[in-house]
Structure formats: C-alpha cells, structure tokens
Amino acid sequence: MSRTDKHAFGAHFPPNCPPASAVECGGIVYRLVSGKTPTIDDFLTHAELGLAPRADACDRCGLSVYENRGDAIALYQRVVARFGPQGTRIGNLVARLELTAAHGRQLATPNQRTPDSHCTWWPFADVDRVSSFDQIV
C-alpha cells in the first residue's frame, strides 16, 4: 500500500519522517503495554504525550516494537534494573501485535550497542492502533 491521502501521517511529523528507508508494516511484532486489555494510552508516541522533547523529532513520532518477544522482555528487565520499577513509565506486559500495510511504516532500528530486533513503527494518522493488538503473550 502506498502512502496516500487516506493514509497520511500526523501533521506534527517533521519533514522526511518516516525516513525513506522505512517499509510498509507487516507481520507480528511485540510491544510492552500496561494492561491485559491495551488501550490507546499504550499506543501513544512521545510526541503525542509531549515527552522526551530532546529526543530525535522523528523517533518521537514512532512507537517501539520488537520482532522478537524475548527482546521486548529483555528491554523491560534492562530498563527496570537501571531506573527502578517506578523510575520510568514502562509497560510490564508483552502484547503481540499483527501489523498490516494499513498500520503505517516501520524500520529496523536495533540498539546500537547490543543489536536486537527493535523496530520503530510510525502509525498513519487515521489508523486504529489498538486494532493491531492480538493477544498478551
């Protein structure tokens, strides 16, 4: 599916975001969420939350997902160990998402130091992000 008016990104996206190397979404990915029934709050970007103003402007418009469930769990353990269970807001459940081309674009953005299956998902403005939720795993 190509980028059309129907599937446009939010007006707050900076120019050239997502990067040209991002591809259509597709397949199973995993994301940390806070509840057994994820809500839209689990799928808001930092740009939408107004957080991490110093982070890369395009990264702030994306959502972190992993192609590998184990990497999502490792991320949780890594963050909690470093910042305490209450030091950051991070979901403690792993949700399996099934993304399609209608959900937006994604790009492999592995951790530079310890390469993993981290991807950034830039959702289209009109997409129901929660609809990607499949199950808690």
Partner: protein, 278 residues
C-alpha cells in the same frame, strides 16, 4: 512515579540548560546522559521519575575518570550516583529544567533507583548463570595457608569498584576478623603480581590489597546489599567448596598412594580397601 520532593529549592537555571552533551542510555529519549554546568563542569544525569508532563533526573557532579569507569563497566550506576552533591531536577515538556532541589541518594525512593551492581550498559551486566566456573576458581589463591580471593578480583565478580568494596571492610571492621580478610604484605603483593597476569595492575596501586577468605566473600556480599553480589556469592562459595573437595581428594590420593607403596604384597586386603574408598 513522581515522589514528593523535599530539600533546598534552587533556581532551575543554576545547573545550566542540562542539554545532553552525550546520551549514555536511550530508551525513547535520553534516560542517562552527561551534560555541562554553567562553569563547564561535567554532570551525570540519570532518570529517576516520569510523569505525563515531566521527566525527573538525579544529577551529580562527575569527572572524566568516573565516566570512563562507568562506561567501561568498572562502576555501577548506583555508585555513580553516590556523589557528595546530588540535585533532583524536573525537566518540563519543552526540555527545560522547571524545578531543582538539593537532595541526596538516600532521599530517592528505592523503587526509582538503579539496582545495586547494575551497570550502565547491559553487556557489562554479569549473568551469574553463564559465569564460567573457571573464572572464579582461578581467582582463588593460596596465601598464608588460606584460600583467598584478592579484593580486585572479588570486586570484579560483585561488579563494584574495588574502592567501594574496601570501604565496606573499613567501615565494618568488626565484621571482618582476621580469618575473614587480611591485608597482604608488600612481598606478598609482589608475589601475587608476579604470578597472576590478570592482577598486574596491582603493581601500580599504592595500596596493599585485601585478601578475602570464603567467609569474607560472603560477609562482603551481605554488606554490599546488592542482589547481584548476593547471587554471585553463591557461585563464589561453590567454587571454594569445589576446590576444597578437589584438593581433599588429591591429598587422599597422594597419601593413599604413599601408603600403598609401603605395603607388602601380602597386604592385599588393605589395598582392596584403599581401592574401595577411592
């Protein structure tokens, strides 16, 4: 979680813009980073709270030496934050400091702090289950007739700075009798340096190293109050026990071998008994 801040309120601009000079740990934004104060001094900022409209950081004065130690896995995050001065700074939506309070590490709720022993980079975190047993075993030396681990090795296993480990010994001297820990003499230190390649750096240390016996390694792990040290100490004790059993078996074989040689041919029953015990 954003806990109630207590302490001396300071002008949020006092520490400068706190713009990250280098991000050390990033997860959807900079969580640990270094910045410069107004005078150009190095600051280490580590996230310790988050709300819908702001991020909270513990900020301490830092040095390039500490930064090197932190990045190379010689210094854990909790120890890095244990500086004489500490400020809690809230960074608002626009990325500017909006509140600053003079505080201390002990004022930060435990659930908002890094676990003791956890390193900046995940690849520096020890995973006790994959510790090669030999690494611990090789650290056990025989000095003054006792099997011991030198402080630098023990600190490495427990993932704390050697200085911090020895501080605990000094502060809790009553818990470390001579059969738990002792200080090497200069000649013992030279012997250790000469015989243990991995301890060659001790040559440049002005201090005499501490040697921890099996009991001392356990006591040190307890005092460090680090879950990681507690976990690793189990492996350390197992290494001591395994080595003891191995040497004990070896001693018996040597002694029984000597005995066997002294026996006459007609002492077959005794030889059979020795074989059975083996």
């Amino acid at each position: 979680m954003m806990w109630k801040l207590d302490g001396q309120e300071l002008d949020p601009k006092l520490l400068g813009s706190l713009e990250p000079e280098r991000v050390l740990f990033e997860y959807e934004g900079p969580r640990s980073y270094v910045a410069r104060d107004l005078a150009g001094g190095l600051l280490f900022a580590h996230q310790c709270g988050e709300a819908a409209d702001r991020w909270r950081y513990a900020i301490v004065p830092f040095s390039t030496e500490l930064l090197d130690a932190l990045e190379s896995g010689q210094l854990d995050l909790r120890s890095a934050l244990g500086q004489p001065w500490l400020w809690i700074v809230d960074i608002g939506e626009k990325g500017h400091p909006v509140r600053c309070v003079r505080s201390s590490l002990s004022a930060i709720p435990e659930e908002c702090l890094p676990r003791p022993g956890v390193m900046l980079y995940p690849d520096h975190d020890p995973a006790p289950e994959i510790f090669p047993f030999g690494r611990i075993e090789e650290s056990i030396l025989l000095i003054r007739g006792r099997r011991v681990i030198i402080d630098a090795d023990l600190a490495g296993l427990y993932r704390v700075a050697t200085k911090r480990l020895n501080e605990q010994v000094k502060r809790n001297a009553d818990r470390f009798p001579d059969d738990f820990v002792f200080v090497l003499t200069e000649s013992e230190k030279q012997q250790v340096v000469a015989n243990c390649d991995h301890l060659h750096k001790l040559r440049f240390s002005p201090n005499l190293p501490h040697a921890f016996t099996e009991h001392g390694t356990l006591m040190a792990a307890n005092l460090l109050k680090s879950p990681l040290a507690a976990k690793v100490s189990v492996y350390v004790v197992r290494a001591f026990v395994k080595l003891r059993e191995f040497l004990s078996d070896t001693d018996f074989s040597i002694k029984s071998g000597d005995l066997e040689a002294q026996l006459q041919d007609d002492d077959e029953q005794v030889i059979a008994l020795i074989d059975a015990i083996r």
